[in-house]
Symmetry: C2
Subunit: 696 residues, 2 copies
């Protein structure tokens, strides 16, 4: 993907240039010409000869020079041909603004367009998009009226119309952009391509995006773990819509019914270290906090305020978002006491009182910046008559020169604090209009910082699995048109992948049964094995709670009993199957969706649908992925032995999840799988039942 | 409480008037004089003679005329005396700005002040407050610099410093106030007093407050149900801080450990129909949506947008907040189709497309306003080049003339849509800067509307309770210094209040046992009754699963067995106690906290601490209160018979909660109570165990 031709073109052709105002073909030319683009502009339209004092060409073929980027705003069916002509003139990137493709049901036309571009080596943006803006390059190759200031935030969006609002909001908030792009139907250029380019872009510090759908979670996870767990972590902030869309039809499995589209995205974002913005407003808060602070560990926050109420509200927000308030050191408290009024609070939140002037703020900020227990700072200010918003803002700016501790400032109010906000913005200090969002943004900042410091690990892998056996089972099933594997067959697959199962064995004689029981060392259920007997209990062919002491007697008794009841039956022996202990019923499953193959782990039994205490992750999984799936459950307390019960054996739980990860990674044809229950006890987790569905 | 003297005084004395700028005593006089107050202003300070061209009096006693309101800003210890002097001049209300009372540990001084005011019939605001503003009366009797425009929103705050920020934010948002008050330490004037006054105030449509603590939940619930379930519901919106404050020390009971301060406030707000704002920003959104729309039922919302992305984001917000999207009628769809472009979406969200001009919005809004399936409307607009924010705003204003359907508009962006926002504000149309909060605010609006239409009911009351018996038990316990009632004693209290208990009776003879069992018609546990036997099972004094057929044999066998094992023991008979069936373990409890006596109901058993699936409500309870406690549980699905199980008998659950409500209402000395478990089966709920703690 040649994205330099897209963002740094030396010459741009605009096909479909129009003299009619307020049309796309007019706006694009106007924006290029009037907003300072320094390269060559070649508007194309056979019907006009000049537009905004720029020569208009009747046909692309007539353009004398080389073209780097072509912007197309003509009816859909003509687009591909014009791109071919532009490519002949050297175009390496095309922005197709034209609608009328997939979004109107014309998927085939869109595929053809993508194929043409691919063949010509042209990077295709769109179709059905708004265009691209690179303020650094003074290029507004879009029909959005606003050229944003240069900044270090990149933004791209699946919704073109959202872009104009984002530009207008951002302008008001003083947020500048490094690159700004509307990706439309994304027929060719994907989010991952853009993330890779922007990650390498020295002008970009934060990558923001609006997405309605993404593809291929495993590759995003893989790429972002490689990119962002190094020396150059660049936060990727996502505003994702469609959270509550109804699921795609009825789904038979538990795992399927518990997975929603949004649980898949939540899993993706957590595994890939992507930061989710829950609203447009939060997107801006996050962009600021990430772009204006250096990535570092944050756990404890100190709040500085001149008003008690906002201090308490912000404390609530800090705690709710998962951060903690710092305990200031005694030295810090002594220092604060040396200049604060006696009725000021030197406990966190530090209340400098309503009459605090800029100097008091400055000394306080200075003391807190030095406090070793404080990882990050939130400064609040309400406009009282003594308050000095500008001097207070300058105090923060000054602090930034000697400390890189993350800081977010909320100067509360509007007109009375505007001059202070301006100083903060000019000096790249993150601000929020209201105090509570400062805490939420800092929490996201802390989470990403922690994530970026994790080590990348190998995927869990077990050498003892019998892949050949499962390959054989699936091949045979496919040959027979079978896609569903109920208990017995599913358990054979489980067995081949060495999942922990209940012990079971067939004994042909009482003596064999005794030997087996000596090895098993547990109670078993005994079931007659005979091809001629369907209902085992009817003929006395089932006995429960057999142990090593009575197995011989029971074996013989059962043989006699069944023979008496069913003299014709051929008796092949008895199945000895471990009696399940009392334990915690868990559920482990798989759901393949548009993002990839997703594993689910959580509490099973009667509460599964009620509390939905399950976690999701895309395979293949690392040990840390698995540990997070377990520890993220509320029921984890039960596994750890709540209420005096023994803790469950966590290693065998991890192993079960790990083996499932390996199974679905080896066999991508698995679309649904439920292990229900996975029974956890102190002696280990056991698969009691399973069912599997593979693709047609 | 004479609040007219506070908000509509004809003459105000300011004690502690100061010539030094940026002091409280200066600001108050300046604000009164310069911001248009038309009544008499009497600044008092022995050291100066004039301030802002107004005569300053050396002493209150020298003021010639009558005083209605006195504002005091002098050291705490002098305040009471000055108020006495002002009262002698007719003052009926006092605003004490002075700090140095309870907040500094001087509770006694504050109590004295309150007592003085009470005795003199003076309404006391504060101490430690910012003052009062009544824009309608052109009175800024506070030290906040900003006089807000007149509006129909009343605001009062426990934090004075927050007020200045609120005024500044509100000015920017175009929100005006009917009354604005800082209540400080609220030594005398309570929230309930203010709510009652403001509810009767014709200038106030919405009551907003910031609270750190409230008192007496039952009286707030009672008052607001009476006030707001009539012909004049006035929403009370609360921004409550201290959500996450650590609980007050260790608490022994389950109910205590599951109740937090915030669960008590959540219960209060739900029962009293108070609307909680979760942030300062949401407070303003709610204030607008409530003040600019008429209370009415809302279930289904239609979104009108010119951009797909924001439409989907807002759909998410609508669904997440508990509302639904309207299905437009076929007639509406036909009408929309008649003027919208073919690629526009006539499904909700209605997408009028990016090039929609004001006229298209107007026709669309008109069609949706008439749509019978649409209860409320959200209009979104992103600024595209064809977009007409002003005409679109005017279209909404026009619609309001013929339809009173609730509507919220989000013109997205800032500078590009500012003129449209201005039109909306001028015409009292609710707007939000970002689209998602529009949905949350409408959901709160819908919730209050529904709540206000509920009927007030009698509290649950059972005539068959034996109040005298419990009175006697508690009296005797108090006499003995006993405050804790473990199982046996607690069960006696349960029995006196006719809670559903397991059947039990003592039989002296086998024949008696048979008669009892014929009546019981269930299996029982049989336990020997003897004052001489501590460990019943050791002597063969316990038998399980006895039924009517073997009760005689077992009675005789037990008597012989115990006699043989313990020849000296005096045997008084056997206790026959119903065997508990398998059922759902519930927990029912009581926790008395600073707001009142709160009942808890929810899922018991091993998941109680893990899922905390419990609901709270302040007693006494109505049947609807109880039904909400039950239906609000996630586990309610289990009670209704999930997974093919029989449903639990809900009437006996309701009765158990109702009897508990009556018990704690009759005996306010109960501070902690756990019924754990309350076992629910299809045959009825039974109290299996209980413990009670009363006050010292």
């Amino acid at each position: 993907m040649n994205l330099d031709s897209l963002f740094y073109p030396q010459a741009i052709a605009v096909i479909g240039a129009s003299s009619r105002e307020k049309t796309v073909g007019n706006d694009v030319v106007k924006n290029l010409v009037q907003q300072g683009y320094q390269g060559k502009i070649y508007p194309v339209n056979p019907k006009i000869s000049e537009l905004y004092s720029t020569r208009v060409y009747a046909d692309v073929a007539q353009i004398e020079g080389n073209i780097d980027l072509v912007v197309v705003a003509i009816p859909a069916k003509f687009v591909a041909d014009e791109i071919k002509k532009a490519a002949a003139k050297g175009a390496k990137a095309a922005i197709v603004i034209s609608a009328g493709f997939k979004e109107m049901g014309n998927l085939e036309l869109e595929k053809q367009l993508a194929a043409v571009c691919n063949e010509l080596g042209v990077t295709l943006v769109g179709p059905n998009c708004l265009g691209a803006i690179n303020a650094e390059h003074q290029m507004n190759a879009s029909f959005a009226a606003v050229m944003p200031p240069v900044g270090d935030v990149a933004f791209f969006s699946q919704s073109g119309a959202l872009c104009t609002a984002v530009l207008d909001y951002a302008k008001d908030l003083g947020i500048g952009f490094s690159k700004f792009l509307s990706i439309g139907n994304k027929a060719a250029l994907s989010e991952l391509d853009l993330i890779k380019y922007l990650h390498a872009d020295p002008k970009t510090k934060v990558i923001c995006m609006y997405a309605e759908s993404l593809d291929n979670a495993p590759s995003l996870i893989q790429a972002l773990r490689e990119l962002n767990r190094g020396s150059n972590p660049k936060p990727v902030i996502v505003l994702k819509s469609g959270k509550t869309a109804a699921g795609a039809g009825a789904i038979a499995s538990h795992t399927g019914s518990l997975s929603s589209g949004d649980s898949a995205y939540q899993a993706l974002f957590a595994q890939a270290g992507m930061i989710r913005a829950n609203s447009i407003s939060e997107l801006f808060d996050l962009a600021q906090v990430f772009s204006m602070n250096e990535i570092q560990s944050v756990k404890k926050v100190t709040i500085i305020t001149n008003a008690g109420g906002p201090g308490v509200l912000t404390t609530d927000a800090v705690i709710e978002s998962g951060l903690a308030l710092a305990d200031l050191t005694p030295e810090t408290v002594v220092e604060l006491r040396s200049f604060l009024a006696p009725s000021a609070s030197t406990h966190n939140p530090v209340d400098v009182l309503g009459d605090a002037v800029g100097e008091i703020y400055e000394k306080t900020i200075d003391a807190i910046a030095k406090d070793p227990n404080t990882d990050a700072i939130i400064v609040l200010l309400t406009p009282q008559s003594m308050t000095e918003p500008e001097k207070t803002a300058q105090a923060v700016v000054k602090m930034r020169q000697t400390s890189n501790k993350p800081i977010v400032v909320s100067l509360m109010g509007k007109a009375l604090v505007a001059s202070g906000v301006e100083i903060l913005r000019a000096n790249k200090i993150a601000t929020t209009a209201f105090p509570e969002p400062a805490a939420a943004a800092l929490a996201a900042f802390a989470k990403f910082s922690n994530w970026s410091k994790e080590q990348n690990e190998e995927f869990l892998n077990y050498q003892d699995v019998d892949k050949a056996r499962v390959t054989e089972i699936f091949a045979q099933a496919k040959a027979n048109g079978q896609t569903s594997f109920p208990e017995a067959e599913a358990m054979e697959i489980m067995s081949a992948y060495r999942f922990p199962l209940l012990k079971s064995a067939v004994a042909k004689t009482a003596q064999e049964a005794l030997v087996i029981m000596q090895e098993f060392n547990c109670k078993v259920a005994m079931k007659i094995v005979s091809p001629d007997i369907l209902h085992k209990s009817d003929v006395g062919g089932v006995a429960l709670n057999i142990d090593v002491n009575n197995v011989v007697t029971e074996f013989e008794a059962m043989m006699q009993r069944v023979s008496a009841n069913k003299p014709d039956a051929k008796l092949e022996g008895v199945l000895l199957m471990e009696m399940a202990q009392k334990g915690i019923e868990l559920i482990l499953g798989v759901n393949k969706n548009s993002l990839g193959t997703m594993l689910m782990f959580g509490l099973g039994g009667i509460y599964v649908e009620i509390f939905k205490d399950v976690n999701f992750a895309f395979g293949p999984l690392t040990r840390t992925d698995v540990l997070k799936m377990i520890s993220g459950l509320r029921s984890n307390k039960l596994l750890e032995g709540a209420r005096g019960e023994a803790a469950a054996d966590k290693e065998t739980i991890i192993e079960a999840i790990g083996r499932l990860s390996q199974l679905v990674s080896d066999f991508p044809e698995i679309v649904e799988l439920d292990i229900n229950p996975l029974l956890a006890t102190k002696d280990g987790a056991k698969v009691l039942d399973a069912r599997i569905v593979i693709e047609d």
